[in-house]
Every structure is written in structure tokens, then in C-alpha cells.
């Protein structure tokens, strides 16, 4: 059975069973996973993950190294397709549609679900060309200047690069490069922005700019951020998911509850630093 057939067969059995997730936090989730399992070869990376990611909120995913948090993030826009040994079972839906459905074009999916990585990765092109890249690939070049400007403003970078858009993106500072990557992601008007440790390579000032930006972005986009920095999760997220060893989502709740009164002792032990 192929990976997709496996997924499909699980969908047709598990979903019809109507197993409501106990971790429901929003009636209108953008992304929903149900019984999601991921294996790298024989090694389980995610274990039966049920989660609903609420619309236009910041959802943080925290947990110790190797707990599967980045794996989960990468499943959402099928970045794990690039990992040959990865097997995915269970259900993962974006706006109700099966992310791993046969008809889904991963490239089109990634336009709706953008990703920002730990290390800024601008193309070795001008600032303008970086932001315009996705739109040009789509053949969508109408009002290009205006849309590039809008994306740069939305990413809080415009004031710093106005009048020098033909400058190489590689000449920008690390923090500016990361905001440029965010501008590049939002230029194609996604619904979800996934961020994998977006500030871990940045200094405190650049980090605080990214954090402010993330909170602003949640007015228009759904943001999912993986972070090792628990204080960062506490500062900027509305909801927090705690993955623990074995790829298990142990607790998912509003951030205040997670950091003030988590329901699970293992979560309390992890966030208070008693293990991990």
C-alpha cells in the first residue's frame, strides 16, 4: 500500500468513527490533524496527534529536542515529502481538505501555507526580486510594485529598505533577512505561516522585532511557530501545544493555561525545567 493509500484508508475508517478530539480549542480550525502518525523508517516521530489549529491566532509548538514538533510543522505544508523515509498515517486537513489527498499540488499548497526557517534564506537576488519571486512563479505580476511594497510594509521592513529595493538581499542584517523571508512568504497571500525557530539565530533586538511582527501577522494570518524558547512561546502565542518525547502531543491549550496551570504533570515538569 502506498503512503497516500495508507492515509486514505485511515481517513475512511478513523474519520467516520467521528472521534472528536478532546483538544478542540476552536470551532473553526484552519488545520486539523486526527490520529496523525509519522515514521522515519521504523522510528516513530509523531504518535497519534490530534490537534486543531485556530484561525488567525499564534499557535506555539514547544517540546524537547526530538519530540516531533518540527516534524509536525513540516507535515502541514508537506515539506516531509522531501524526506524519502518518512511515512505519514492519519488525517491532516487544511480548510477541510486532505493535505495528503491525491489531487493536492504541494507547490500550490505551500503558497497557501508558507514557511519561514530558523536561518534566514533569502535568494541571492535583490530585495525586490526576493519578495516578487513567488508572484512571478505564479505568473501573477499585476501591480507587482505595489504588492512588493505592501508585503515589505506588512513584514515591518519597508522603512529600512525603501529606495534601495535593488540592493542585494544578502547585504541585509540577519534580522532584516528574516523579515524579508517573511515578506516573501506573505507576498503570495497565504493563509498560514509556519515558522521553525524563526528567531533563534537572531540577537535580542532582531528577535523582539520578529516577535512583534508575529503578533501583528496574526491579525491576517494563522501563525504556527516552533520554538525552543519557552518564554518566547509565552510572550507571543495565543495557544501552546506541548509535544514530549515519542512524538506525543501531551497538552494543547490556551497559552495562559499552559504556563500558569497545565493539566498534565509531565507538561509542568517540562516547562518548569524539571526534566528535558
Amino acid at each position: 500500500m502506498s503512503e497516500q493509500e495508507t492515509t486514505q484508508s485511515l481517513i475512511s475508517t478513523d474519520v467516520t468513527a467521528g472521534a472528536a478530539t478532546e483538544r478542540t480549542v476552536d470551532a473553526d480550525p484552519v488545520v486539523r490533524s486526527l490520529g496523525l502518525n509519522v515514521y522515519y523508517g521504523e522510528e516513530p516521530a509523531l504518535n497519534d496527534v490530534d490537534m486543531e489549529i485556530p484561525r488567525r491566532q499564534v499557535t506555539a509548538i514547544i517540546g524537547p529536542s526530538g519530540c516531533g514538533k518540527s516534524t509536525f510543522l513540516r507535515c502541514i505544508n508537506r515539506m516531509n515529502d522531501l524526506v524519502e523515509a518518512a511515512t505519514i498515517e492519519g488525517e491532516l486537513r487544511f480548510e477541510g481538505a486532505d493535505i495528503y489527498g491525491d489531487e493536492v499540488d504541494p507547490v500550490a499548497l505551500r503558497r497557501k501555507i508558507g514557511m519561514v526557517f530558523q536561518h534566514p534564506n533569502p535568494f541571492p537576488k535583490s530585495i525586490y526580486d526576493n519578495v516578487a519571486y513567488g508572484l512571478r512563479v505564479q505568473g501573477d505580476t499585476k501591480n507587482l510594485d505595489e504588492r512588493v511594497e505592501r508585503a515589505l510594509k506588512r513584514a515591518a521592513l519597508w522603512k529600512e529598505v525603501e529606495g534601495q529595493l535593488d540592493k542585494s538581499a544578502l547585504d541585509l542584517s540577519g534580522g532584516q533577512q528574516q523579515r524579508l523571508c517573511i515578506a516573501r512568504a506573505i507576498a503570495v497571500d497565504p493563509e498560514v505561516i509556519l515558522m521553525d525557530e524563526p528567531a533563534s539565530a537572531l540577537d535580542p533586538i532582531a528577535t523582539s522585532k520578529i516577535e512583534d511582527l508575529i503578533e501583528e501577522l496574526a491579525e491576517d494570518y494563522t501563525v504556527v511557530i516552533v520554538t525552543h524558547n519557552m518564554q518566547q512561546a509565552a510572550r507571543i502565542s495565543d495557544y501552546t501545544a506541548v509535544f514530549l518525547t515519542g512524538g506525543e502531543l501531551v497538552e494543547f491549550d490556551d497559552t495562559q493555561t499552559i504556563f500558569e496551570n497545565p493539566a498534565h504533570e509531565r507538561v509542568e515538569d517540562y516547562i518548569t525545567g524539571k526534566f528535558g
Partner: protein
């Protein structure tokens, strides 16, 4: 265990708050005895002891601030530090009230004009404070609720005592003796203040219980 220094700091704070609680109870005991025996020397010991309480209060407050700023506690740890921070203030206030009782002991030159049993109210308040501090030390939610319930008893005793004092004033036999009237007024005022301050000690005991309940169960029912 990871974050060993942090865990030690939390344990130190818990021990320090308990030690301050024990000191405040000693101060309160001394003050009640001073009041009961109208003992000026004991009263002066209460005044002297209050300086140490104040110093300890400031040091522990700083300990809480350092933990918050440097260790960023969360979940149960956060509730523990937040509750301790508030409880310290209540303890320091009880220390201040103990000095008030010392003042009243100095001012009381003769027997109280009524048979108000100040010692009994004092003992009850002391029991309440002891129970609240034990609940904090043991993380005992049920004991917190008991302290809150028993406060009604303290309030009722204080209410009856105040009424008795005022009745005494109204029925005062000072007559036209201006000096006797003045003395009666002084005694009555002092006694009313004593009863009021004892009731406040009871209220601080409830505050300690309320913060402890929040610490243990994140239950704010006694706070609001």
C-alpha cells in the same frame, strides 16, 4: 535534577517565608502577652523585633523579584512565587499590628472598662494565622478553606466586643467628672482599636490562606 540552583532557590524561598511566619507569630505572641500583662518591657521588645521583620520582608521580596526576573518561573512554580510574594506582605502587616498592640499595652494604665476578653480573641487570631501558615507549608487546600470559614467566628467575636465597649461608654458613670470622662474615652478608644486590629490579624490569616489556595489549586475563590 536540571536547574539545580533554581530548585534550591525555590526551596530556600519556601523555608524563608515559613521562618518569617514563625517570627511574626512570635512577635504576635509577645504583643498579646504585653497587652495582657500591660508590660512595657515586653512591648518594647515587640518594637525592637519589628525592625528584623521589616528587614527580612524586604530581603524576601527581593528574593521573589530575583526569581521572577532571572528564572522566569511558570505553572506551579509561578503560582508559588506569586503567592509567596503576596503572603510576605500580609506577614509584614501582622508584624506592624503587633507593634500597635505594644503601643496599646503602654497606653493601658489600668483595667479595661469592660469584661471584653481580648486574650480570647487574640488566641483565636493566633490559631488562624498558625493554621494558614501550616496550610502554606503543607500546600493544604482544605486547611485554607477552614481558615476562611473560621474567620466568621473571629468577626463575630470582634463585633460583639466592640458593641460591648460602646455600650459601656454610653452607660458610662463618669458623670460630671471631666477627668473620669476623659479617661473612659481613652480606654474605650484604645479597646476599640485593639479589637479592630485583632480582626485585621484574622483578615491577614485569611489572605495567607487565600493565596495558598491559589498556589495549590489555582483557585481564586478566597481572593475575590
Amino acid at each position: 535534577m536540571p536547574r539545580e540552583n533554581y530548585q534550591e532557590s525555590l526551596a530556600d524561598l519556601r523555608a524563608d517565608v515559613r521562618a518569617m511566619g514563625a517570627d511574626v507569630l512570635d512577635q504576635f505572641d509577645l504583643a498579646l502577652e504585653a497587652l495582657d500583662r500591660r508590660d512595657a518591657a515586653l512591648a518594647r521588645r515587640v518594637f525592637e523585633g519589628d525592625e528584623a521583620i521589616n528587614d527580612r520582608y524586604l530581603a524576601l521580596e527581593q528574593e521573589c523579584i530575583d526569581l521572577l526576573a532571572l528564572q522566569q518561573p511558570v505553572a506551579g512554580d509561578l503560582r508559588f512565587v506569586a503567592a509567596s510574594f503576596k503572603i510576605l506582605t500580609d506577614l509584614e502587616r501582622v508584624g506592624d499590628l503587633a507593634t500597635n498592640f505594644g503601643e496599646y499595652a503602654l497606653a493601658a494604665e489600668h483595667a479595661d472598662p469592660t469584661d471584653v476578653d481580648v486574650a480570647r480573641i487574640g488566641t483565636l487570631c493566633r490559631d488562624q494565622l498558625t493554621a494558614a501558615l501550616d496550610a502554606y507549608a503543607d500546600g493544604d487546600a482544605a486547611a485554607c478553606r477552614t481558615v476562611a470559614r473560621r474567620d466568621d467566628e473571629v468577626d463575630a467575636l470582634c463585633q460583639r466586643a466592640s458593641e460591648a465597649v460602646v455600650r459601656e461608654l454610653i452607660a458610662g458613670e463618669a458623670g460630671n467628672d471631666a477627668w473620669a470622662a476623659e479617661r473612659l474615652l481613652d480606654d474605650v478608644s484604645r479597646l476599640l482599636l485593639t479589637v479592630r486590629d485583632l480582626e485585621r490579624v484574622g483578615d491577614h490569616a485569611v489572605n495567607v490562606a487565600a493565596r495558598t489556595l491559589y498556589m495549590v489549586e489555582e483557585d481564586p475563590e478566597l481572593i475575590y
